[in-house]
């Protein structure tokens, strides 16, 4: 079970309110006693599917999978009505392979019923017939807990035929992945579910119209879906009020690296990076200074210490030149080599490229080799220009998916912020840090 610090008032942290300090997951009975599945009863009993979509639109909920796409508007592309193609699918993205990201693990292990309730609500809104939970293979405890929770929910008539006696039916299946980061990209994920190689698909058509087996499909992140029961129960104004900024709700933030207390905290959206790092993560370990952070998983730009007062929400971090991404930050301290860190990241992206687009397939290993040589003391004059050319050549819009442009975010920002370190590696013909 992922570490999790429960400090604040449970009303202010709806997503983690039912997570137990001892790490066990609530049974269906205990979960219902604590308010679980109330939103499903309410939505299926008193709301039309379109009302649920409208409510989610009004709440301003934005996807927590990394890109922050507005959830309600995404659903509204799904064809509705009797002539809509069938079956329709609601897919849960529980792949969580973005390096430095461990937030969905907490929700999956800690409160699997909350996710299932979110699944039913989203599926009902788009009138999906079948839902797949796509879970990464290494999350063994989450797999066991989800399987138990699905069985309990099915036994209680919360999923399956004619849910709670209504005419709405939904099947929920758990699929455990066989690995590879690219499976988290939504169209690659759809190929993986179809039992194919997980290369992304060219868009358009978008999955909302033509996804799994060519049918309308919504892919949503775990944390996104976990917000739904609370929005249905408490309304849009309450949801917006949880946040410190116009991007509504709470956010599960995380910190890893050499801080005193690495961990996860559910906090108001828009809490500053400095507050998260200093108050919650306890600041740096003794003797170390914070140099920079990667704010939201491997594919986001470095932010320097001087930028830590940025409010961690989608719009503000973007204005500061990075992305909130998954909201789980990785700390670079002053005794760790930034070139080595960027090398580690590029090694990851190079090995996870699916190989479809030439710039990504050929460019990332080249970048990795240049950085590896630099770390070995064999950097060459001209290497930095070569790296910069890749940042341009692998940029947004030049490849089929966002893996390559995502990889360029820490590289491009690293070259900008740590130029001296890169130059010193080449000039001194060694990495001065190891």
């Amino acid at each position: 079970m992922a570490a999790f610090n429960q400090q604040s008032n449970p009303d202010q942290r709806p997503l983690t309110a039912k997570i137990q300090p001892d790490g066990r997951a609530l049974s269906l009975k205990d979960c219902e006693a604590a308010g679980g599945y109330r939103a499903v009863r309410r939505a299926l009993g008193t709301m039309a599917p379109g009302d649920v979509t409208q409510l989610v639109k009004d709440s301003g909920l934005r996807g927590r999978g990394g890109a922050g796409f507005p959830t309600g508007p995404k659903w509204s592309f799904v064809p509705m009505g009797d002539n809509a193609p069938r079956p329709k699918y609601l897919v849960v993205n529980a792949d969580e392979m973005e390096p430095g990201t461990f937030k969905d693990r907490l929700l999956l292990e800690g409160d699997p019923h909350q996710l299932i309730e979110g699944v039913i609500l989203a599926a009902y809104a788009i009138q999906a017939d079948i839902s797949y939970i796509f879970l990464r293979g290494e999350y063994v405890l989450a797999e066991q807990r989800l399987a138990t929770a699905i069985a309990e929910a099915r036994g209680a008539g919360l999923i399956g035929k004619n849910i709670l006696g209504t005419d709405y039916s939904l099947e929920v299946h758990l699929h455990t992945s066989a690995g590879r980061y690219i499976c988290g990209e939504e169209t690659a994920l759809i190929n993986a579910l179809e039992g194919r190689r997980a290369n992304p698909r060219s868009k358009p058509p978008f999955p909302q119209v033509c996804g799994l087996r060519g049918k309308p499909t919504i892919v949503n992140n775990v944390e996104t879906l976990c917000n739904l029961p609370h929005i249905v129960n408490n309304g849009t104004e309450w949801f917006k009020g949880l946040s410190l900024t116009p991007n509504g709700g709470t956010k599960i933030y995380g910190v890893s690296g050499k801080v005193k207390r690495p961990g996860l905290w559910e906090l108001p959206m828009g809490t500053t990076a400095r507050t998260i790092l200093e108050e919650h993560a306890g600041g740096m370990r003794d003797g170390l200074k914070l140099r920079a952070i990667i704010p939201g998983g491997a594919s986001t730009d470095f932010l320097l210490e001087s930028q830590l007062d940025v409010a961690m929400d989608f719009d503000t971090v973007a204005k500061a030149g990075s992305r909130m991404g998954t909201g789980t930050m990785i700390v670079l301290d002053d005794q760790t080599c930034p070139v080595g860190m960027v090398h580690n990241l590029m090694r990851f992206f190079a090995s996870e490229s699916c190989g479809w687009c030439t710039p990504c397939r050929e460019g990332l290993p080249w970048v990795e080799k240049i950085l590896e040589a630099m770390e070995r003391g064999e950097g060459q004059p001209g290497d930095l220009e070569q790296l910069s050319r890749h940042v341009t050549a692998l940029g947004m819009g030049l490849t089929y998916c966002a893996l390559a442009p995502g990889a360029m975010e820490p590289l491009g920002s690293g070259l900008k912020h740590f130029r001296d370190d890169f130059e010193r590696h080449i000039r001194d013909k060694r990495c001065g840090w190891s």
Binding site: M97, G100, T328
Partner: protein, 154 residues
């Protein structure tokens, strides 16, 4: 040769799968449970059960990290290589692990006890460095404790 039990498990998976192909990854994972990897022979049997060609199934098998097409030891160690673990001492942990076992990454110990593979982010970043042995996750791994951890696996 897959055992009858394994074949039945694959057929059961097939029965509640929307299409044969959609059962492919799960079928390979079930087949892999027998020996920890999928041999050519096992792969052909999976293909026959799913009514796909062996090439189609191999195309899938070779894409995914957790499906193995080469023999592995009795226990598989997945060492997390991603950035949080790197910051927290992955390089030292890897060096110690490989030294203790006397192998390189990707290799199996001579007694067939362990295979060491790298894995990307295990999602245990707040307790880095991390590794998994079979289904067991270990975090905050101190290279000096490796002996105690490894001793649990025969």
């Amino acid at each position: 040769m897959l055992t009858t039990e394994t074949k039945n498990e694959i057929l059961a998976e097939l029965a509640h799968s929307e299409t044969n192909r959609m059962a492919c990854i799960e079928a390979l994972k079930i087949a892999q449970r027998e020996h920890g990897w999928v041999s050519d022979e096992d792969l052909c049997e999976v293909a026959r059960l799913l009514d796909l060609t062996p090439d189609e199934v191999d195309g899938v098998a070779t894409f995914y990290n957790l499906i193995r097409r080469r023999p592995v030891g009795r226990n598989v160690i997945l060492l997390c290589a991603s950035v949080s673990c790197w910051v927290m001492g992955y390089v030292q942990l890897r060096a110690r692990l490989l030294q203790v076992l006397g192998v390189e990454l990707g290799q199996t110990t001579e007694d067939g006890r362990f295979t060491v593979l790298e894995n990307q982010c295990l999602g245990a970043c707040d307790h880095a460095p991390a590794l998994m042995i079979n289904d067991d996750l270990y975090h905050d791994v101190d290279p000096e404790q490796l002996g105690d951890i490894l001793a649990k696996y025969a």
